[in-house]
């Protein structure tokens, strides 16, 4: 294993050390990494900071803290510095650059990028280097974003804690003994630990919003079909959606705008204009907007502190002039059950591609064993416990005799949930709920109890099943740990999330006197 380790990959170590030595010019590294993406881009555009120095500062920060956080699986220091230098040269030549030019980013290891390994947090893809870029990655490159490397995740995005990574768990920067959420835990931890101002995550049942909530960040699942899934290694194709993780609503909007838009390479990509998310994030005026509090996403199983932080955020929305109403979505209580039939069913089909023949691991090929024997052995040693559990569950749910009772019924629940959303949006412009029922739990707490682990996604799953967009942003602290508020909107009204999120963030920051993340302990 040469590419996947903590931060000190053989290729990256000398460059990271050089980075640590090189930064220190006009701005201190610690100050640079605390700039938002918008501030970093503005400083680079104004010539106050070079893209190279921004990148060196991020690499320096990674070298300092990632041994403790373990967000990164692969640091591409040379590639990042080369990209940053090219941006500096183009700026010096007077070329017009994109709004995120020179801003460093951490990429979830489920998206393919040429020149970097893609493991999906799994042994079965260890060392595999894809021969092409995902559309999200080619758009990031076109936007002159600097890709620092690949970050940790639950294996094939299955999990809510990043404990299912074959390369070890990532830790929550607020409390290193706790989970950073999952499956985009590496993405969230990297941003919360100031290793990168931006990250791309993917959300199948809440895997962007739940880690954002427990790490004190902004995370957005765009409308299904709004961001291309080409090059995103599929887990559950009808639910998976890539989206931004950032420290502010405005930064998330800039990243959203950079990656969204129709892609003919993805048959599920929708050919509609990208909603004006950047403008919406800056508007700050939500007077008269109707906010629906979902009655079913509260009560038993919800931590009282999380509920209190949520209630206070809703009061803030009312104080900003929004009209708060209660809405009922009676079938949301069945969403979790439907999800844990639909997602494993799709995963059992999607993961059939890991057959030991074309890419990734092959084990037990002794020259005598047949293809099927090699395939079975490879999948046994290559997949971790949660992946095996879900593949088996999906195989069961799709098998003859059980299909109608499980998978077929789950697809009907999906219809009922979409109808609930449609009815609720007749009474409200956006819906809100806590993002997660509890704050981050200790690492190891739920590894032996899959059903308890699945409850982490209680509030986030309905919008995946119906396809609408949803955002999590920090609502407050519970016992020193972040809690999130979730905002949901109708399909293709992603700008409403940013309108409400931008206004709420500004109000909460003003009340606190600073962004929530400033209260995170020093690493």
């Amino acid at each position: 294993m040469t590419d996947v380790s903590s931060t000190s990959t053989p290729a990256a170590a000398p460059a990271v050390a050089a980075a640590a030595a090189a930064v220190g010019g006009s701005r201190r590294t610690d100050d640079v990494v605390r700039l938002t993406a918008a501030e970093t881009a503005a400083a680079i555009a104004a010539g106050e900071l070079s893209a190279q120095d921004a990148t060196l500062a991020a690499l320096d920060r990674i070298a300092k803290v990632d041994e403790a956080v373990h967000a990164f699986l692969h640091v591409d220091a040379e590639g990042a510095l080369a990209a940053a230098r090219a941006i500096d040269a183009r700026r010096a030549a007077g070329e017009k650059l994109g709004p995120l030019a020179g801003v460093p980013l951490a990429l979830k290891d489920v998206l393919t990028a040429r020149g970097m390994p893609t493991t999906c947090g799994s042994r079965i893809l260890e060392g595999w280097r894809p021969p092409y870029d995902a559309t999200v990655v080619s758009r990031l490159r076109a936007a002159d974003v600097v890709i620092l490397g690949k970050v940790n995740m639950d294996e094939f995005a299955m999990g809510s804690s990043t404990e299912n990574s074959a390369y070890g768990p990532t830790r929550n920067p607020w409390d290193l003994s706790r989970i950073p959420g999952g499956s985009s835990g590496g993405s969230a931890a990297a941003v919360a630990a100031f290793e990168a101002p931006l990250s791309i995550g993917t959300d199948t049942g809440g895997s962007i919003r739940q880690p954002a909530a427990v790490c004190g960040l902004v995370g957005v699942k765009p409308t299904y079909g709004g961001v291309s899934r080409y090059g995103l290694v599929a887990f559950s194709s009808s639910l998976d959606q890539a989206g931004p993780l950032a420290r502010t609503v405005g930064d998330a909007a800039l990243l959203h705008a950079a990656i969204a838009g129709h892609d003919p390479m993805d048959s599920t990509s929708v050919d509609l204009p990208v909603p004006p998310v950047v403008e919406a994030a800056a508007r700050r005026d939500i007077r008269g907007l109707r906010v629906g509090v979902v009655r079913e996403l509260a009560g038993e199983g919800y931590d009282p502190g999380v509920q209190a932080a949520f209630d206070a955020a809703v009061e803030e929305l009312a104080g900003l002039g929004a009209e708060v109403v209660e809405v009922s979505c009676p079938h949301f209580t069945y969403a979790l059950a439907a999800y844990y039939l639909i997602a494993p069913s799709e995963c059992s089909s999607n993961l059939a591609r890991f057959d030991a023949m074309r890419f990734g691991l092959r084990a037990g090929d002794d020259g005598r064993a047949g293809a099927e024997e090699v395939m079975s052995h490879t999948r046994d040693v290559g997949f971790g416990a949660e992946v095996k559990r879900r593949v088996m569950l999906g195989t069961y749910a799709l098998s003859s005799g059980y299909y109608d009772a499980y998978y077929g019924q789950a697809q009907k629940v999906r219809t009922l949930i979409s109808r609930d959303f449609a009815a609720a949006y007749e009474q409200a412009d956006v819906l809100v709920s806590p993002t997660t029922p509890t704050p981050a739990f200790p690492i190891g707490d739920k590894v032996d109890d899959p059903v308890a682990m699945y409850l982490s996604d209680l509030c986030t799953i309905p919008s995946n099943l119906a396809g609408g967009p949803a955002m999590s942003l920090p609502a407050g602290l519970v016992g020193g740990l972040p809690a999130g508020i979730q905002i949901m909107a109708p399909a293709f009204a992603d700008d409403r999330l940013y309108l409400v999120g931008g206004a709420l963030e500004a109000a909460l920051d003003a009340r606190r006197g600073h962004p929530l993340l400033d209260e995170a302990p020093a690493l």
């Binding site: 595999w128 280097r129 021969p131 299904y224 079909g225 009808s238 639910l239 048959s267 929708v270 079938h331 069945y334 979790l336 059950a337 439907a338 844990y340 039939l341 059992s348 059939a352 057959d355 030991a356 023949m357 074309r358 990734g360 691991l361 092959r362 090929d365 064993a369 047949g370 293809a371 099927e372 024997e373 090699v374 395939m375 079975s376 999948r379 046994d380 997949f383 095996k388 559990r389 593949v391 088996m392 569950l393 195989t395 069961y396 098998s399 019924q409 789950a410 697809q411 009907k412 629940v413 999906r414 219809t415 009922l416 979409s418 899959p450 059903v451 699945y454 099943l465 119906a466 399909a491």
Partner: protein, 98 residues
Amino acid sequence: MAITRDEVANLARLSRMSLSDAELDALAPQLEAILGAVARVAEVAAADIPPTSHAVPLTNVFRADVTRPSLPVADVLAGAPAAEEGRFRVPRILDPDE
């Protein structure tokens, strides 16, 4: 509903995974617990409710019928477990007796 160890072994075979005895023993009660928790989908989904398989309506994507370069063969084979003469090399497919 009880999931027997034999059923789990059969699912493993269908899923092309040669699980160990310990894995089969651990998975049987876990799958039973998960299926017990998700079986409630049957409570609400009446016969007259149409199923939804996808969040957005899907249409096929066509491109102009013109030839264009594929990914370079060498790049694709570089990621393969084994390659020979410009092709994927795979273990034998047929039984030696067949």
